[in-house]
Structures are given as structure tokens and as C-alpha cells.
């Protein structure tokens, strides 16, 4: 347990704190953990979240921005008015907790199916597509000179990277080949404007309350690139959770998303959004293949991982619906 370390840590940076309670591990793999806990304080309990890599797990995977960058991005987003948890503390060696940060806990729901079905969110649902457009516009306007160091990726580099990932699986899939050809034939080239791209902005990585979007989470895939990538990814069918006629996370239409984005003063390029939706669908399909490979080669020999391998065919039907639609 990490309760003792957390207690000592909060005493140093949270004036008046008398200890911690309710420490519980939420999720994450071996290299990255999420914990929830409460900070006991005379003015009232403060809900908090710890994101950390335990000691000995310093190196971030190649595509990940790293926890320090994630903390910096969330704080910048918070200051710019993007719904985001306030970062309370970035871990230092004296904390003896590894690397990472502590943020304010935002109450709300992240489980996509609940957000799409529960009565609690019925009033928020019709507003979300437009709201998401506004949130993305703010996010894409974060000043580049204040950002931490991030990898930079344009469309051509992404196609090449996914092709390499796919070929390394030795998993011949005619539908994926067709998608790769389509992407190369429709490569829009570098974007007119390079911005911060969240990289995993979708239903499931947003905290939603009765009033709408309360926080944007999981910044680990943030990079510099084409802002239309985020608009395409949020429309990938895998994140509609069954509500297939509402492309934006199962909440609403592309038109509402685009209107929210443009009313916040930014321009949408619908053909680029479509390109990134196809790219995103293929990306999730290849990730399913990666899960299958990790299941097969260990160390994660779980049934859940095995079954994700069998979800690649979902992206195949979605790619066909995008690239070779049948008569309506």
C-alpha cells in the first residue's frame, strides 16, 4: 500500500492536510497506475487522483508523451478553460512514489455505455456533440510555445507507422490492405496549421456529468499534428458504443460537432476529418491485433486481451461501411 507515502507527500504541499484516507487502485497496467484517495483537511475532504509510474518504470512507451508532459498539458488546459482537473502536485523524488502527479478528482461518469443509456445524462446527451466541438477548439488553440516537448506526426508518417505495425503482426487482412491503399491515395499532406492534438479524445476518456463535459482525461497520446485528427477520432464507430447513427461518440451529428468547433472560431476541413476517421478505425483494428500478439506471446495471457483480438473484425466492417458502402 502507498498510504504512508501519500500522507507524507500531501503534508508537504497541501497546507493544513492532516492525512489521507480511502486509498484505492483504479486501473492501469504494470507501468502506469491510477489511484483515488481523499485528503483529510480541516476545511473539508479533498478528492484526489494519483497517476504514476512506480519506481523502476521510468521509460515511457514510444508513442506516449510521459506523465510529466501529461501533467503540464492538463494544467495548461485547465488554465485555458478546457474542462480539466486541476493538477495539485507533480511528484518529486522525496515523495518516494515514483514519477507522476496528483490531480483534483472530478466527479462524474466515464463509462461510455452508462453515459449513453442512463437517465442521469439524458439532458446532457443532446448537447454533447456541440460541446465537444467547443472543447476541441479550445484545446487546439493552446499556445505551442508553452507546450512540453511532444512528438510531431503528420498524416504520411502515421500511415507509414501503422503499416509497419500491421506488417509486423504478419496477419494478412485484405480489408486492412484496402484501407492502407485508400489512406495513401487520400493522404491530405501536412496540415495548413500544426496544433496540439490530444490523440485519444473520445467517449470513454471524458468525465461527463448531468451538465455535460466536466473533464478531458488521458493525455498520454498527445502530440503535434493536424487538429482534424481529434475530430476524426472522436467519430470512429468503435466509440459510438452501438449508437451508430450518432457519429460523435454516440451523442450527436458531425454537423453539431463542426458547428461547436466553428462557433469557437476555428475552421473545420470535413474531408480531412473523414481521412482521420478512416485512419482511426484502422488504428483501433491494428491495436486489436497488437493485443492478440501480446496475449499470444505473454506476459498478459488474460481472456480479456484474447477477446480484444477478436474485435478486429468490427473495424473491418466499419472500414467497409466507410470505403465500400452498400446501397441504402
Amino acid at each position: 500500500m502507498i498510504e504512508a507515502e501519500l500522507s507524507r507527500s500531501v503534508a508537504r504541499w497541501c497546507p493544513g492536510a492532516t492525512g489521507v484516507a480511502g486509498v484505492a487502485r483504479l486501473s492501469g497496467g504494470a507501468s502506469q497506475e491510477t489511484w483515488r484517495f481523499d485528503i483529510a483537511h480541516p476545511d473539508g475532504v479533498i478528492g484526489a487522483i494519483l497517476r504514476r509510474s512506480p519506481k523502476g518504470y521510468g521509460a515511457a512507451p514510444t508513442r506516449a508523451a510521459g506523465l510529466a508532459a501529461e501533467a503540464q498539458l492538463m494544467q495548461l488546459a485547465y488554465e485555458a478553460g478546457v474542462p480539466s482537473p486541476r493538477v495539485m502536485h507533480v511528484l518529486v523524488p522525496d515523495d518516494d512514489l515514483g514519477t507522476g502527479f496528483v490531480m483534483q478528482r472530478v466527479e462524474g461518469e466515464t463509462i461510455a455505455r452508462k453515459i449513453l443509456r442512463d437517465d442521469e445524462f439524458a439532458a446532457a446527451r443532446p448537447l454533447l456533440a456541440r460541446q465537444i466541438g467547443g472543447v476541441l477548439a479550445k484545446l487546439h488553440r493552446l499556445p505551442l510555445d508553452k507546450l512540453p516537448e511532444l512528438r510531431s506526426r503528420d498524416a504520411s508518417q502515421e500511415i507509414a507507422e501503422f503499416e509497419r505495425d500491421y506488417r509486423s503482426l504478419d496477419w494478412p487482412k485484405p480489408v486492412f490492405e484496402l484501407a492502407l491503399r485508400w489512406l495513401r491515395d487520400h493522404d491530405p499532406g501536412p496540415a495548413a496549421e500544426t496544433t496540439l492534438v490530444h490523440g485519444d479524445f473520445r467517449n470513454g476518456n471524458l468525465i461527463i456529468g448531468a451538465d455535460g463535459v466536466r473533464a478531458v482525461l488521458d493525455w498520454e497520446l498527445a502530440h503535434l499534428g493536424d487538429p482534424m485528427e481529434d475530430l476524426g477520432w472522436v467519430c470512429v464507430n468503435s466509440w459510438r458504443f452501438g449508437e451508430i447513427d450518432k457519429p460523435v461518440g454516440g451523442f450527436g451529428s458531425r454537423e453539431e460537432l463542426f458547428a461547436g468547433y466553428e462557433s469557437a472560431g476555428r475552421k473545420v476541413d470535413p474531408s480531412r476529418v473523414k481521412f482521420w476517421e478512416v485512419m482511426g478505425t484502422l488504428r483501433w483494428g491494428i491495436m486489436c491485433g497488437g493485443m492478440m500478439q501480446r496475449f499470444r506471446e505473454g506476459p498478459d495471457h488474460s481472456m480479456e486481451r484474447a477477446m480484444i483480438g477478436r474485435r478486429a473484425s468490427e473495424t473491418e466492417i466499419d472500414l467497409l461501411r466507410l470505403l465500400a458502402p452498400r446501397g441504402s
Binding site: 494478412p172 486492412f176 484496402l178 491503399r181 481472456m303 477477446m307 474485435r311 468490427e314 466492417i317 465500400a324
Partner: protein
Amino acid sequence: MQDEPTPIELTKSVSDFLRNDIAPLISGHQAFKLRVAVNILDLVTRQLTREEGSDAAEVERLRGLLGVDGSVTDLNRALAERIAKGEVDLATPGLAEHLWATTMDKLAVDQPNYASYKRELSRGG
């Protein structure tokens, strides 16, 4: 020739046991894992039921498209290569129909409740 019951009947009996007798006894993460296990057995049952027929039809279509013979794996590899090289594309007669038929057969095994699949099925398979 192996004896009976068939693999389909055997996996189905295990799945029924887990669902009816064990699921009511457990909760939390274990119950979640059990649901995954039951889903796996049901997938295996669907594959055992359908694979022979769908593979035979797939090979038949692939032979027509490619003009060569081989196993379902070899022919898929050959089609993937031809698409990668640009020798075959959506303008090639029969390709779109083949990919649709093959994909529908996969979803029937993998995720028959997937909304895109159910929508396409309602168009007539």
C-alpha cells in the same frame, strides 16, 4: 472419425453450466471474468458451427478472384498482397462483394451483436 458428443455439444454444455450454475454464485471482478469466459465459449461454439461452410465459400470466391488455388490462409495472403501492390482494388469485379461476404461471416462468429453488423444484416446479409 472421433466419437460423440461433438465439440459443439461439449463446449455448449460447459457454457450452460457456467452461466446457469456458477454465475449466480459469484460477483464483482470474478463475475466479470466469468462473463468473458462464457463469451469465449459461445464464440468457439459459433465458430465450430459455421467455419467449415464459410471457409469453403470464401475459398471458392478467392479462387474465382485470383485464378489460383490454395488453402484459405494462402489465398487470403495472396489477396492481401495483390491489394497492397494495387493489382486488385474496389474497381475489380467481385472484390467488394467478396470482402463484404467474408467480413459478414467473421462478425457472425466474433460479434453478432455489433450494431454495424446487425444493420448490414437487415439489408439482407
